[in-house]
């Protein structure tokens, strides 16, 4: 299939992009890497009148350390997430997830800002954004705001981004010495959407878990925190009993949709297995 005809604009600043969008009304769409949008255009699932190509806006690029936060420009490509040393060190769950994000050709073009704005519930980066407790920097014609990841993912393909607003950067609180983390996903083929995926970030103090963020993806309409599993770990030493307790609770944390091929019972089962393996990995990191 071929996309319907559309107009194309290529602003060079954020403000120009915002104004172009405002002038076009809501029948415009920003495009950066285009790895989700362009197939949707080709399938005529989406047919905006105007595409605003933000890929050439310099201010949306770059990765830098700002105090206790790592600022990752929205245009940072998946392949850069995979190789950037600052991300590897300070936002390690992105680094761990990146090899599982699609395939090299897609990673060469896809951007982290695009992935998070699109908010596919099976995507790795939105989930890891939530797992690391990042904040999303949104810019509109009237100003800038930062939204915590916990408030950002609202529903299926729906985020806190208002029409015309642009995600310009992701701010990740940097890893501290007591942090341990692990990431994995089960997929039928490397690079596929995961059957179930999970990232865990835990902060230890004196051998006890002080904070835990356990985020699953591909199990609901948005990335999901396994809050009961998280809670049951707080204040505990991470041992086999603690792992088993968290595993026992995780099924209740998730609400996988009905799916003939991957039924909810299977998603819950895989989530339990995955959580057991990830916590086991963290346990072994400690020893």
């Amino acid at each position: 299939m071929k996309a319907r005809a559309f107009s194309y604009a290529r602003p060079s600043t954020v403000m120009e992009a915002l104004e172009t969008f405002a002038d076009a009304g809501e029948d415009a769409s920003y495009v950066a890497g285009g790895q989700s949008l362009v197939p949707a255009l080709a399938l005529r699932l989406q047919a905006p009148q105007l595409l605003i190509d933000i890929a050439h806006i310099e201010a949306l690029r770059g990765v830098e350390l700002q105090g206790g936060w790592l600022r990752i420009g929205a245009l940072t490509r998946h392949c850069e997430v995979l190789t950037d040393p600052l991300i590897a060190r300070h936002a390690p769950l992105y680094h761990a997830a990146a090899p599982h994000v699609a395939h090299p050709a897609i990673r060469n073009r896809g951007t982290i800002g695009g992935s998070i704005s699109h908010s596919d519930p099976a995507s790795e980066f939105p989930a890891m954004t939530l797992a690391m407790g990042a904040e999303l920097e949104l810019v509109s014609r009237t100003g800038t705001r930062r939204v915590a990841a916990d408030d950002f993912f609202i529903d299926l393909f729906q985020t806190a981004i208002e029409p015309g607003e642009l995600l310009v950067a992701i701010h990740v609180p940097v890893i501290r010495p007591g942090h341990r983390w692990a990431f994995h996903e089960f997929a039928r083929r490397r690079g596929d959407y995961a059957l179930v995926g999970c990232g865990v970030l835990a902060e230890f103090s004196d051998g006890l878990i002080e904070q835990a963020r356990i985020v699953f993806f591909s199990v609901g309409n948005t990335p999901l925190r396994a809050r009961q599993a998280e809670q049951c770990l707080i204040g505990k030493r991470l041992d086999e009993a603690a792992v088993a307790a968290a595993q026992a609770l995780v099924g209740g944390d998730l609400d996988p949709p009905e799916d003939e091929h991957v039924p909810p019972a299977m998603k819950r089962h895989l989530a339990r297995v995955l959580l057991g393996r990830l916590l086991g990995q963290i346990m072994r990191q400690d020893s």
């Binding site: 005809a5 690079g191 003939e260 991957v262 089962h269």
Partner: protein
């Protein structure tokens, strides 16, 4: 010192891994696929498709589409029915077979979701799609027949009421004595198997340009197909254009696997649209269209049982196969061939004599199911080989032992299978022994036991198979289908002493042109680089069967061989006249006429050609040199050249997740004389990958309403490089004596048994947990269910 081999002879190309001459061109991006062709005044068609699996067409309103920019024609089923006669996908030798008549586009009702209903032709594909969106079709939904049991239930809706039922074909084979054998057997194993639908997913989708020139009444079709002659015949007969004025050109083809030899409604419509417009019309299926309109394959439910005596000897097999083929049988090869090969290949490697099988081929509201690589083989192989493994388990025998005790002995040929297949010479035991050694089987078993104690669960599976190749006219011709089992070649020597070979077998990326070049070079006695092989144009290449059922090497190759010998005799005859020497004392080597006894060069072939073409005045009176020959060859010995082999699969099963890591596959195969080892091995590897796709990944999933629910490459999983194992290949060579070349086919071998070996390996890995699986593909969900986790 290394001994000399037959490969050290001059011009010795057969048996050598020479690279494909066309590979560099394709790698350089200079391939010429139908999609690349831009003809003057060419238009593009987009189709409006049915959203329903079964519905009456109440009305079509295309007025808005006709007024859209760039639109040149909007055509319906009625419009095309005026030009094109209907076709029926039956063959006479399948007694009682039924199928409804087909037209390019439906006139009154649709029978599967995705069926093309209205054609919109415009200046560009995008404009045609814009206009197609405005076509309003009113449908009246009809009850849908999806399930194979529902299709046969009394009182269920009948898709083609004029046929009386949804049964396309019912076949039975019975050698007699089966009930008695089962009644007295020491052990019986039985299982119900499910094989999902999958599809070809060629890199290049279907593509066609029809170009009708009314001034000459000439139809030229550029068609991505493996069988141009078959389509020349079909277009000629159904559109009433004399055959001599229909030209079908199959240029570079990006994979076919049997998918591109069936008649598709969109393709037939394109011809009619070009006739209506007097302009070239192009149609290229996009990936979404491919999923809903390319043939699907398999879709079987098989109940089978096997009886064995106390000594582990297999005595009998009893099989019931129900297969669903969509709403009609494909044309012109029919959709019964798959089921027919399933129930005739069951148990083919083994000695037992008592066999009974029942085949029911049913209609349903899905896209047509028909021949795809290894037609029927993987079903017959998986059923047979799983039952054999179950017998091994039941009688506490090793999987190699049970097979070596039951496979037809290598010295028992010729012999005939209980289903009537005549085997000239197979080599099951030699292959089995070689596989065992290649796998280092005893070490693998020891390692398996050791790893199980560590919670690592590996499985080992093997599967023997028989493959149908080189079919004679018994395959299609006797059934009334105008599909040739013979091939033709024209070989000519140019004035410079180069060689051109025009041959009816076709190139789909598998290397046909390469091996034909090797055969001609060896038997004519010239350098391979001086030979150009030309295929795929009905205007220039002789009529033949082209490519299907593994016939390119065996039949096409023999055609080329005999044509080369004929031409060589002509060359030596005129060379004898020129050299004043008896032609039988001469030979050709590396493009030189030599003295056969002393090997001394006498005169260059190019010099002979120069004299023949430009100085015929210097030849003795009465000499009319023939430096072009035409030769046809049709198989006349065995009805098929059967091949055989065995595969081994080693994998690791994650028993908590149901995910499988395929560690290695081994194949030992006997395709007779090997012409090009590299191409043979890559045929097998590609086939194995397709078989593993069927085993673990590929399935066309349908909802209860007959909607395909995974019709994109995001949802339909094809095997990818990361998941594929190393595939190690060994050979046993038993040439057929039916031909001088001795080659049989090899294209189906990989696919035939890969899924069976994988099925056995997964079951082997699961054995400690008491679970078992008999459904392909083996998805994580099905494996977890078999293990009792969900």
């Amino acid at each position: 010192m290394n001994a000399l081999t037959s490969l050290d002879r001059p011009n010795s190309y057969i048996g050598r891994s020479v690279p494909r001459p066309n590979a560099k061109r394709l790698l350089a991006g200079r391939g010429r696929y139908v999609t690349d062709f831009v003809l003057p005044r060419m238009l593009h068609v987009a189709y409006v498709r049915s959203p329903y699996a079964h519905a009456r067409i109440v009305s079509i309103d295309a007025q808005a589409a006709r007024e859209m920019p760039g639109v040149k024609l909007v055509a319906t089923g009625q419009d095309l029915a005026r030009l094109c006669t209907p076709w029926v996908g039956t063959m006479d030798h399948f007694k009682g077979m039924k199928s409804p008549p087909q037209l390019p586009l439906p006139v009154d009702k649709v029978v599967w979701s995705g069926q093309a209903v209205v054609a919109v032709v415009a200046d560009t594909r995008a404009l045609a799609e814009d206009a197609a969106e405005t076509v309003a079709i009113e449908f009246d939904e009809l009850p849908v027949v999806v399930d194979i049991d529902a299709a046969r239930m009394p009182g269920s809706p009948v898709i083609s009421p004029e046929l009386g039922s949804n049964l396309c074909f019912h076949g039975k084979i019975d050698t007699g004595g089966v009930d008695d054998v089962f009644a007295n057997a020491a052990h019986i194993v039985e299982e119900e198997f499910h094989f999902g639908r999958h599809t070809a997913v060629t890199m290049e989708p279907r593509a066609i340009i029809a170009d009708y020139d009314a001034s000459e009444q000439q139809l030229t079709v550029h068609h991505a197909t493996q069988t141009p002659y078959q389509f020349q015949d079909i277009y000629s007969r159904h559109y009433g254009i004399p055959e001599s004025r229909v030209r079908v050109i199959a240029p570079d083809i990006g994979g076919s696997f049997g998918m591109k030899l069936h008649m598709y409604h969109e393709d037939m419509a394109v011809v009619g649209l070009s006739i209506m417009l007097g302009r070239p019309v192009k149609y290229v299926a996009d990936r979404i269209e491919s999923f809903v309109s390319d043939i699907h394959a398999r879709d079987h439910r098989v109940r089978a049982r096997m009886a064995v005596d106390a000594d582990g000897e297999i005595l009998a097999m009893d099989v019931e196969d129900v297969t669903a083929i969509g709403a009609f049988s494909a044309y012109p090869r029919t959709s019964v061939v798959e089921g027919n090969q399933v129930y005739r290949l069951m148990g083919a490697p083994y000695t037992f004599r008592n066999y009974r099988a029942d085949l029911q081929v049913v209609f349903q509201n899905k896209v047509q199911m028909s021949q795809y690589r290894a037609v029927g083989h993987p079903i017959a192989c998986a059923v047979t080989e799983r039952l054999v493994d179950m017998i091994a388990a039941k009688t506490a025998r090793d999987v190699f032992e049970i097979r070596s005790g039951n496979l037809i002995p290598d010295d028992a040929y010729p012999c005939t299978s209980p289903t009537g297949y005549q085997f000239e010479a197979l080599s099951h035991h030699a292959c089995l022994a070689k596989l065992r050694q290649m796998m280092d089987y005893d070490r693998l078993r020891a390692e398996q036991a050791q790893l199980r104690s560590k919670g690592i669960h590996r499985g080992i599976g093997i599967a023997t198979f028989v493959e149908i190749t080189n079919p004679g006219p018994a395959f299609y011709g006797v059934g009334g289908a105008r599909i040739s089992s013979q091939d033709g070649a024209i070989i000519k020597i140019t004035p410079s002493g180069d060689v051109r070979c025009l041959i009816s077998v076709t190139e789909l990326g598998q290397g046909t042109e390469t091996i034909i070049g090797q055969i001609v070079a060896e038997h004519l006695g010239v350098d391979r680089n001086r030979i150009k092989v030309i295929t795929g144009d009905t205007e220039t290449t002789p009529h033949g069967g082209a490519t299907y059922a593994c016939r390119g090497a065996g039949i096409g190759g023999e055609t080329a061989l005999q044509a080369a010998l004929k031409l060589k005799a002509n060359v030596l005859s005129v060379a004898g006249a020129i050299l004043q020497e008896a032609s039988e004392k001469l030979d050709i080597q590396n493009g030189w006429i030599i003295d056969a006894a002393t090997m001394h060069p006498r005169v260059e072939l190019a010099e002979i050609a120069r004299i023949v073409y430009f100085r015929s005045d210097t030849l003795p009176p009465g000499t009319q040199a023939q430096l072009s020959v035409t030769h046809h060859y049709a198989p006349q010995g065995y009805p098929f050249a059967f091949t055989n082999g065995v595969q081994g699969c080693h994998l690791e099963l994650d028993v908590e997740t149901g995910l499988v890591n395929i560690l290695k596959v081994w194949v030992v195969e006997d395709c007779g004389r090997i012409i090009n080892p590299l191409l043979v091995d890559e045929q097998i590897r590609g086939g194995v990958v397709q078989g593993l796709g069927a085993a673990f990944f590929e399935e066309c999933a349908y909802g209860d309403n007959g909607q395909l629910t995974n019709g994109s490459l995001a949802d339909y999983l094809v095997p990818m490089a990361v998941e594929m194992p190393d595939i190690e290949i060994g050979h046993v060579e038993t040439p057929t004596l039916d031909t001088q070349l001795g080659a049989k086919g090899v294209g189906e071998a990989g696919t035939a048994a890969a899924s069976a070996a994988a099925l056995n390996a997964v079951n082997d890995a699961m054995a400690p947990f008491g679970g078992s699986i008999a459904q392909l593909p083996m998805t994580p969900a099905r494996i977890l269910k078999a293990l009792g986790h969900i």
